[in-house]
């Protein structure tokens, strides 16, 4: 009996029965239309399906340019549309309701719509992606509004909607005013004090990083999840896992994305993969449409609303997520094959208060140029040593942009990501601790594409540093409350790690200039202004700080055996100058365009990893 397009395809030997059974099983479990499962779980390509429809005499209606009667659409639930892929268009001349559906043969859909609208239903064929686009752009308004403002409504003190609070502005201007007055009244002592404080802050921040790196490197041998445990894990035991893939104009990466996802060792039917495409991103949508092989993800179109940021897209994607656990990857990410299972097992082992586990990030194109090498060194020490170090010290961990795995219910309880924060991940990491939860580290690596172009790198880095500043400002609105919630250790860790990072990059060029003026060019004026002890400490702090940072970079090569990169660590002072440029750009944007999302262009690398997924390290 033919009840859907899949049945028809099977009857005509265009689809095998074994696949059909699997499609039916998934469709029943998740209440999806079979065609949705076939198109989104890697059973059928859109091109094949279009040819089939054409052969069956079904003309595909262009719903995006169709004049529809919104009164019918407004009666439909966006989730139902998303699951069954249809759009009520208008009443036909014979009184029946014309409905565009991805599966014009879907008898169950026709029956349910008939019951709902109490009229005859006439199904016409439409592209499923167009249906999704139209449904989300029209019916997703409320949800996107919720995605943007829910945190602000629920927990305004954690939202970055206001960059500087009145008291913060008062404090900042008060401090600036105080320093200016002091500069006029006690010029030299004030300059000495500023110099001293800056150099101590510089060295202090780096010493803390070294300490973290050493702490983190202690856990190098310890494997939280063993290969045996992974091998013993049965597919029936694992939960549905949502993967959010926020993309914007990433049409070139879609093919790669599919192969990377295919490498994941996780039962296909339990992967709930959502490709989050912005409303105005037809390039990516068309790239999905034109794929020559079956896609293993669902498309969710994020309706336009400012701010147009990744966290907003992710928050929107959560409304359609079915998983018990959730993670985020970027389009170009190559996650470790076992990552999802490792994260699941980690959650099983960790106490209940652990609501997130963060995987390590690294780069597959590390040897492309100097910038990618430096970036790889930085990511290696950051994810392999610093974050485990923070975990050991129970200090808030700023989450990485991707490969962070959440318990979905807890993520919703935390208020999801802040759309007004441009490093929403770091902010969420701090918020996790703020709300008395914890973050674990899972030893599993996702390989990304390192930024290989300096201006693109500065764009990306300026956003990160601006985000760190935003995060710092948000959580330091009430330092006393913060101490009360995360303790003194967490408070100092937060100040050194989040606040200290931005401050270090801002003061670095000033200290470098001072160092050059004093030691290299030996300008005598410096010696007349500063007493010997200040010069001694400033020189010591600056040189020691740089050496220690080079040393931390050098440590990074060992765990992953990137020995060939060790000499590049010596270039860290130059790399830090680039950070300083980005920091000043970030500071400027923080004041003038706090929510502006500097888009990082991906897919610039000429190197590609040959492996779809990389074994665990």
């Amino acid at each position: 009996m033919i009840r859907s397009a899949i049945d028809l395809m099977v009857s005509k030997n265009n689809f095998d029965t074994e696949k059909q059974d699997r499609v039916e099983a998934i469709a029943t479990t998740y209440s999806y239309a079979p065609i949705k499962v076939a198109l989104c779980f890697g059973f059928l390509t859109r091109k094949e399906y279009k040819i089939f429809l054409k052969n069956e005499g079904k003309e595909i209606v262009d719903v995006r340019n169709y004049e529809i009667d919104p009164s019918y659409l407004n009666q439909c639930d966006i989730h139902h549309i998303n699951s069954f892929l249809y759009i009520p268009l208008k009443q036909d001349f014979d009184g029946s309701l014309l409905v565009a559906a991805a599966d014009p043969f879907d008898e169950r859909l026709a029956n349910s719509l008939m019951a709902k609208f109490r009229t005859n239903i006439k199904l016409v064929a439409a592209d499923d992606l167009d249906i999704i686009w139209l449904a989300h752009t029209i019916r997703g308004r409320e949800l996107v509004n919720e995605a943007v403002y829910s945190l602000l409504k629920k927990d305004p003190s954690s939202s970055g909607h206001i960059t500087f609070t009145d008291s913060q502005l008062l404090f900042i201007f008060g401090m600036v005013g105080f320093v200016v007055v002091m500069l006029f009244v006690y010029s030299i002592p004030t300059i000495i004090a500023l110099n001293f404080l800056a150099s101590v802050a510089f060295l202090g921040s780096i010493m803390f990083k070294l300490y973290l790196a050493l702490k983190g490197s202690q856990s190098e041998l310890h494997d939280d999840v063993s290969i045996e445990e992974l091998g013993a894990l049965k597919n029936e035991e694992v939960p549905v896992y949502t993967i959010l893939l926020p993309v914007y104009k990433e049409d070139k990466l879609i093919r790669k994305l599919i192969w990377n996802l295919k490498g994941l060792n996780y039962p296909k039917e339990k992967l709930d993969v959502k490709l989050l495409i912005e409303e105005d991103d037809d390039e990516t949508l068309n790239a999905v449409r034109d794929l020559d092989f079956p896609a293993n993800f669902e498309v969710v179109v994020v309706p336009f609303m400012m701010p147009k940021t990744k966290p907003k897209a992710c928050n929107y994607g959560i409304f359609f997520s079915r998983g018990e656990l959730l993670t985020i990857y970027d389009a170009e990410d190559i996650p470790d094959t076992w990552q999802l299972k490792k994260a699941f097992l980690m959650f099983k082992k960790l106490p209940k208060e652990y609501v997130v586990v963060q995987g390590a990030l690294n780069y597959f194109n590390r040897n492309e140029n100097l910038l990618t090498r430096m970036f790889t060194l930085e990511y290696s020490y950051w994810f392999d040593y610093m974050l485990p170090g923070l975990e050991t010290l129970d200090v808030p961990i700023p989450l990485g942009g991707t490969s962070n795995h959440f318990k979905l219910d807890k993520l919703i309880e935390l208020g999801c990501w802040d759309p007004f924060n441009v490093t929403e991940d770091a902010d969420l990491g701090v918020r996790v601790y703020d709300k008395q939860y914890k973050i674990g580290i899972v030893k599993s690596t996702t390989y990304e594409e390192a930024n290989n172009e300096p201006f693109n790198w500065i764009r990306q880095r300026s956003r990160w540093i601006k985000g760190y500043m935003q995060t710092y400002l948000v959580h330091m609105r009430s330092p006393i409350n913060l101490i009360r919630r995360i303790g003194w250790g967490g408070f100092f860790g937060f100040n050194f790690f989040i606040g200290g990072t931005a401050i270090t990059f801002l003061i670095y060029p000033i200290l470098l200039l001072f160092f050059l003026v004093y030691l290299v060019f030996n300008i005598s004026g410096v010696k007349t202004v500063f007493p010997d002890w200040v010069l001694y400490f400033a020189t010591f702090n600056f040189v020691a700080g740089n050496v220690l940072m080079i040393y931390v970079n050098m440590m990074a090569v060992f765990k992953r055996r990137y020995y060939e990169l060790i000499l590049f660590s010596a270039l860290n002072p130059i790399y830090w100058l680039m950070h300083s440029v980005a920091a000043y750009k970030g500071l400027w944007q923080l004041i003038y365009k706090p929510f502006y999302w500097e888009k990082t262009h991906h897919g610039l690398s000429k190197q590609h990893s040959t492996n779809a997924a990389v074994p665990a390290i």
Binding site: E220, L519, T539, V547, Y551, M555, V557, F558, I566
Partner: protein
């Protein structure tokens, strides 16, 4: 019982600490003070009591870590601070060893008493603890360095390697000679690099090397790994030394000020060249009837390392136990290589610390590897007996030592043991008391000032009750002017007498006093003198 077991190491450490303090006190009563301890005490005093150039003292006094630790303990009195520091660090070394031994499968009832025996009775370790020298901190970092290296063999973690490089840096800042250990560790690095190469895993290192070098990718990997380990291990010590030299250059006008200035480094005045010992010049002739000990003779022999081994029987035992384990053997050999380099570079007499590092290394060897290899209890009595031989070897060392202060220590201990050690006060202490009293009297009278040079007279400055503002030292910017023409500022002058072995390190000696007084403008009147020191009052002369 569980409570006791848990705290036994700490309780033992407290007992040991008390034992060392008692010995230090008893020795102090016999008048024994080590000049290095007094040097450190004097620099601590200057840091807190001098009014000028304190940055120069804090920033350039070497060994930096030893000095800083003395500064921390100076709360308990300047002369006592270095002793308290060395007692504390030796006890920490003991505690770490006990804790490490406790973690192994070795029978604690054998090894803990062995450690107690060594730390209580080995004269070298007792000397380390009670003299206030830099040896205690040096041994502690030496122990931590080699422990990290041995852990690295087992675990191959970045942490161990990073910690090794940090400890190596600390070691150099406890004794600059240990910078040569970098060279001595080179073979170790070359071999350890093989660990990361998956070539003939079960073959000998030579076969592994051969195969790695003849395979392009393996060769590249091996080279990269070797260079990386070199860099991570050596970057911190070398860059720290560079930074320290930079700071010396900028603030003292000489990059090697901390190594070459008698104001910054005790070893300039405290160590002796082999030549000076052999020619039997200076104090040996007067003090000990030309006895220079046989150690100095051994040091000039090509088989000096054999002599070192003979004085550390435990090390010989460990060496035998490591038969067939090339990596570990090379690590154990690296200090020999270090001593070899040192003998080539440095013609100074090697004192007890260069012998004690082998004892420390032997202890690391016992608990890290022999515990795994020789679990049979029949080995334990042998180890205990050999440890006892080690103590006897220590006694032999002190009987034969060519270092005056080590002989003086041994003599003091013997006197105490014979109960013939009546309370004595050193001549520097007597001189310090006199100057303190003199300055106190002057403060109430003419306010006359005294010119002193702590290049040689640091032992006196260290033992003064307080540093009066009437004491003019080289740290004062006008010292040179006053030294040339004392009558400008000074009423008194403290000089090193002709027989003082330090007389050539200071401008305030008999020769210069004669030169100053020759013009007849100044007439020196002796006020107080000891065997090596004299204080003169500078009266108006009749003119030249």
């Amino acid at each position: 019982m569980v409570f006791l077991k848990k705290y036994v190491p700490v309780l033992l450490a407290i007992v040991l600490l008390s034992y060392y303090l008692i010995i230090a006190w008893v020795l102090h009563r016999t008048g024994y003070e080590h000049s290095e301890a007094l040097f450190l005490a004097e620099k601590s005093r200057l840091l807190f009591e001098a009014k000028e150039n304190t940055l120069l003292i804090l920033g350039t006094t070497f060994p930096t870590l030893v000095y800083l630790s003395t500064v921390v303990f100076s709360l308990f009195g300047y002369p006592f601070a270095p002793i308290l520091a060395s007692v504390t660090f030796t006890t920490i070394l003991f505690l770490l060893l006990v804790q490490d031994f406790s973690k192994t499968s070795l029978q604690k009832k054998f090894f803990i008493p062995m450690l107690c025996m060594l730390f209580l009775l080995h004269p070298g370790l007792v000397y380390t603890a009670v003299t206030g020298r830099s040896i205690a901190l040096l041994l502690l970092f030496f122990y931590l360095l080699f422990r990290s290296l041995f852990i690295y063999y087992k675990t191959q973690t970045t942490f161990s390697l990073s910690m090794a490089s940090i400890y190596l840096t600390c070691l150099i800042f406890c004794n600059y000679n240990f910078i040569w250990l970098l060279l001595a560790l080179m073979p170790f690095v070359v071999l350890i690099s093989l660990e990361g190469v998956k070539q003939s895993k079960h073959g000998s290192p030579i076969v592994q090397y051969y195969e790695s070098i003849n395979n392009r990718s393996q060769r590249r990997k091996l080279t990269n790994r070797t260079i990386a380990i070199y860099i991570i291990l050596f970057i911190l010590p070398l860059s720290s030394v560079y930074l320290f030299k930079l700071l010396n250059q900028v603030h003292a006008g000489n990059a090697t000020y901390f190594l070459t200035s008698q104001y910054a480094n005790w070893s300039i005045t405290g160590t002796e060249t082999l030549g000076s010992i052999f020619t039997g010049i200076d104090y040996y002739k007067t003090s000990s009837a030309n006895f220079v000990g046989t150690n100095v003779v051994a040091q000039t022999q090509i088989v000096f390392q054999g002599y070192l081994l003979a004085l550390t029987p435990l090390f010989i035992l460990v060496f035998a136990m490591f038969k067939g384990r090339l990596y570990e053997l090379l690590t154990l050999l690296s200090p020999f290589l270090f001593i070899g380099i040192l003998l080539l570079d440095n013609q100074t007499y090697l004192t007890i610390e260069y012998y004690l590092i082998f004892l420390v290394l032997a202890l690391i060897g016992i608990y890290y590897y022999t515990g795994r290899k020789y679990t049979g209890t029949n080995m334990y009595p042998i180890i205990i007996v050999v440890a006892f031989l080690n103590i006897l070897a220590g006694v032999y060392y002190f009987r034969q030592t060519s270092d005056k202060e080590e002989r003086s220590f041994f003599a003091s201990v013997k006197n105490v043991a014979k109960k013939s050690g009546s309370r004595k006060v050193s001549e520097e202490h007597r001189m310090a008391s006199y100057i303190t009293n003199l300055m106190n009297a002057e403060k109430n009278g003419d306010n006359g000032r005294i010119l002193m040079d702590d290049a040689a007279a640091y032992s006196i400055v260290a033992q003064m009750r307080q540093l009066s503002s009437n004491v003019i030292l080289p740290i004062n910017t006008y010292f040179i002017t006053v030294a040339e023409n004392p009558k400008v500022e000074a009423k008194y002058i403290c000089i090193a007498k002709e027989k003082n072995r330090l007389k050539s390190f200071t401008v305030l000696n008999q020769y210069n006093l004669n030169r100053i007084t020759n013009n007849g403008l100044v007439h020196p009147v002796i006020m107080f003198e000891t065997e090596n020191w004299a204080v003169y009052r500078l009266d108006e002369g009749r003119g030249g």
